[in-house]
Symmetry: C2
Subunit: 583 residues, 2 copies
């Protein structure tokens, strides 16, 4: 049996930055060549980044992608890596691209993979299946391909597929019919809780179907509001994991895999019942390696560490890829901004994190102390700004009361942070959690101010779990616990009026988060939730708050839609929604 | 030849408000019966409203739609309108709907039309073609139907189709093959400039193809950030417009149309090359009318009146459908807030419009006078709030300068408006125009504060055109010109620093808007624009500003994407976009 040395470049591309992404591919090729690899695969749209969204409809961008691919092929050869077959993900289109936005089908835009060798493009494979749910919109942009390409490398027929192809399945059926000895599946698959298990299950299913190993490659990194978590894996025909890459970090995974030799000839050139196939011969000789590389296995992460790493990477890459030197946000002494502070420190380092304590007349002394304590434990830039004189100057101008005054305090804080941001260039972070955003327990243009909200997908109960886990981790490493115990133990409060507590307005967070999981993340209606055991009056109240949060957004944020996310699941609801609740 | 009396209910539904929408349908049926109509058609998803977006994925909502349809059938009979065949648009699904969010295909969700008669549902037609571009996302939700239904009404075989079906065309080919005497096409088609001409062209094309009249029905009304503009039309086989309904207003269009009789028998029950077809006989006798109704033709609108009506309806329905009693915004004396004020007065009446003059130390006296003048001309609630003491209270707390102070002034105004909104329940309007939003010439959390931005899709040059047009219209009616001449004539300025003018930062608006039309609305890259004759340095500067506006949004608004719209065209660009410009 031939032994193929496969290199998978689990890299972190940036959408639109073609030169930077090409450099990543060139570096991976140099390392793979040095390691004696027979084949290098890079991620879905590794050259353009993922997701390109409407850039796919700009003819200048598609042209730039195609030209950069040709240039990359030449560069790989110039670098001395010409002999290595390299699979590159990029954006393509059929024929010349008209300089106007037309229908998708008419333009023939492709989510493509090119196999490059000796400075030439051996073939271009076009993705067959498109995800069009949750955060995905690929039906808007791409037309499907109907031809599967196999490259005979070291006597092994290797089929190439892209991401959703492994869930849709047709290219794998075609690969099985063509007798592929190995299937490469390159992905840009964003993180969701529990997704790695589902990925492994489908990879095993396809490996059994094709009766061949599958090399599943994922990219890594934060891109806007998505986090790609890596976790590339090679699975044998029998479902055994032959090697795995780390989660949430770049890695060049190199593995030796024993693979069935091709039957020979060009038998793969036939029309299957599913897709036509074509074979491209790179090298017939049976691939072999001098010394087998020890297979590399990534450590498994427990649930909270996995979530922490996703949040840390998402925040860190948002800051880095957008070129911010520093972040700023308000530190209240409460649990949300405390967790945000530790995340920010872990993501970009304490010296780039600026926190501001902005007490009002309703702030308790322990809040101010807890904020100062945390800033000191974490070594953050800490300052105190008093808001009461500013609030008073508003109250001297207009006659308002009650909730309007509560919101005003939050907005004065927001304006102070924005002023400091404008002055110094900090990125403002909004430290709100998912539970409070879902029920509208935050102030638009107030504490909701910020360019990135690191824990907006984290329910309040999970905020507590993560805070406790992070402190325990510090303890286990012999480090100072970053979050003051009092911040974790005290009852949560917005401190916008005397003796206010979250529990004045909301049920216990255990109950709230359970209902939100059903009503916002899931598809549960009122009756479903009551059947699950939640009291009808509480369900009605929370559903009303969620619907009313919509109303508040409607009152004050143009075009805002509900897009509360559950790690990648994007909900789109019309703003006017009389069905779900009363105003 | 039979003469069919066709009633088209050009109504204004609300998404999710099933009872309200059912009432509209019942009232139309009563009027159509009274008028002796043989057939009543209502709009696409007339029962659920359009677009339902992710409500389509909630099993409780799909069930509610199906149940409400059955109840509506009974109500129509109870109302004494049982004999009238009524086409109703609604949301359906194949079989029972599992109480969980699954893949779209697996759930078989349908964009459906039911023909109701005698309290029963004669058939359910499922939309064949889905729009999935611009503001449309239907591929996310629906599976296509493959059966065309014809109803023999008064001896005429009438085929029923939904919206995109007329652009995609397959159901019309099937209707032609089945020998349909009339095709009804029910729409929820949002307004774009020049779209009515494109609609009429495709209706004529299909009429020629089927060799039969087409009844094209559209809904009307603002729904969130879409405006449906009505303009329903009946076109003969020869392309002649037989009747037309008004734009931007509800109307029950009743028309007598001579239609070819069916060949008889059930010849329509056959499998065509395109879709299977089935025939449902309602009545065989040749339809006739006692006295022909005079055909009704709507007045054509000139370009600026059409745009004005779209803006007025969009704003008015946003206010009404969301249940706001009043609106509030800042009146600067400049052209944008002046146009917004007149639009708001035209949409909801002067007594519901509150405007606030908020001069700073840099506001010119003419600005304050122009604002007061406009408020007085239009009869709006007018107040003055001084911002300087509040600005000073911030400056006493933090050391900032330059742009940070300019933005602070705008944010103090935003906070004042939000405080008044929270206190009195007004909807805040953001009066920014498309040119300034596109290049980032506005302050996030400042003048961009608001729940609805009525002129966000209007380029600055169009703002001037509309202001001039509206004043001329008043003059022609012998009314007071609502906008002071000085507001139109003076050079635009943000007045955030001494002697500031827009032209300090931006090129002439003619040039700016030309470049934006190519770069933002269109697909033009740098080279395309230079070829069009714009100076390369100006193109680079404006493209840089557009890209930098993205950067500003990135710094301060979580998850914000570029969605600058061109009357319905929704652009989605990734936030991180190194390709398009430098940071």
């Amino acid at each position: 049996m031939p032994t193929l040395r496969i290199a998978l470049a689990q890299d972190n591309p940036v959408v639109g930055d073609l030169d930077r992404n090409a450099d990543l591919i060139r570096r991976a090729a140099t390392a793979a060549t040095a390691a004696g690899a027979h084949l290098l695969a890079t991620g879905e749209q590794s050259l353009t980044g993922y997701p390109v969204e409407d850039l796919a409809l700009r003819h200048s961008f598609v042209e730039a992608s195609r030209e950069r691919l040709v240039r990359l092929a030449a560069e790989l050869a110039e670098d001395g890596n010409g002999a290595l077959p390299v699979a590159v993900g990029y954006l393509d289109a059929d024929g010349p691209i008209p300089a106007s936005i037309g229908s998708v089908g008419g333009r023939g835009i492709r989510n493509a993979l090119a196999l490059i060798q000796d400075g030439k493009i051996l073939f271009r494979y076009y993705k067959r299946h498109f995800p069009n749910y949750g955060v995905f919109d690929e039906e808007r942009y791409f037309v499907p391909g109907h031809e599967l390409h196999l490259a005979r490398i070291g006597g092994v027929d290797v089929a190439f597929t892209i991401c959703e192809d492994i869930w849709g399945g047709v290219p794998f059926t075609a690969a099985a019919e063509a007798g592929a000895g190995l299937v490469v599946n390159v992905n840009a698959s964003p993180y969701e809780q529990g997704k790695q298990e589902r990925r492994l299950a489908v990879v095993r299913e396809r490996a059994a179907e094709v009766d061949a190993p599958i090399a599943y490659l994922n990219i890594v990194g934060g891109q806007d509001d998505l986090v790609f978590d890596g976790g590339s894996v090679i699975v044998g025909a029998d479902g055994k994991v032959l090697a795995s890459a780390r989660r949430f970090a770049s890695e060049l995974l190199i593995t030796d895999v024993e693979v069935a030799a091709a039957a020979g000839g060009d038998v793969a050139n036939h029309s299957s019942t599913t897709m036509s196939t074509s074979l491209h011969v790179v090298s017939e000789g049976p691939a072999a390696v001098e010394t087998r590389i020890e297979p590399s296995y990534a450590p498994e992460l427990d649930r909270l560490e996995e979530i922490w790493e996703a949040l840390r990477l998402g925040l860190g890459d948002y800051v880095e890829k957008n070129g911010f030197a520093s972040v700023i946000f308000g530190l209240s002494g409460g649990i949300d901004s405390a967790l945000t502070a530790v995340l920010a420190r872990d993501a970009i380092g304490a010296d780039r994190v600026h926190v501001v304590s902005m007490p009002s007349q309703y702030s308790s002394s322990h809040s101010i102390d807890d904020a100062a304590d945390l800033a000191q434990r974490c070594g953050l830039h800490y300052s105190v700004e008093t808001i009461q004189p500013i609030v008073d100057s508003y109250l001297a101008e207009i006659a308002i009361s009650g909730l309007a005054v509560e919101n005003l305090q939050a907005r004065v804080r927001g304006s102070l942070l924005m002023a400091l941001s404008n002055q110094h260039g900090h990125l403002v972070l909004a430290p709100g959690n998912k539970s409070e955003y879902a029920v509208g327990y935050s102030t638009i243009y107030g504490d909701a101010v910020g360019g990135f909200a690191p824990i907006k997908d984290v329910l309040k109960t999970l905020v507590y779990e993560l805070a406790t886990w992070r402190n325990e981790k510090a303890r286990s490493l012999g480090e100072t616990e970053p979050i003051p115990e009092n911040t974790i133990l005290k009852p949560p409060s917005a401190e916008l009026r005397p003796d206010q507590k979250d529990s004045d307005s909301l049920p216990d967070y255990e109950v709230l988060d359970g209902i939100l999981t059903g009503y916002v993340d899931g598809d549960a209606g009122r009756e479903d939730l009551v059947e699950q055991g939640y009291p009808a009056d509480v369900v009605d109240r929370i559903a009303g708050l969620v619907d009313r949060a919509e109303y508040k957004r409607r009152q004050s944020a143009p075009g805002t839609k509900i897009t509360v996310k559950s790690f990648g699941r994007d909900r789109r609801l019309p703003i006017t929604n009389h069905f779900r609740g009363k105003q």
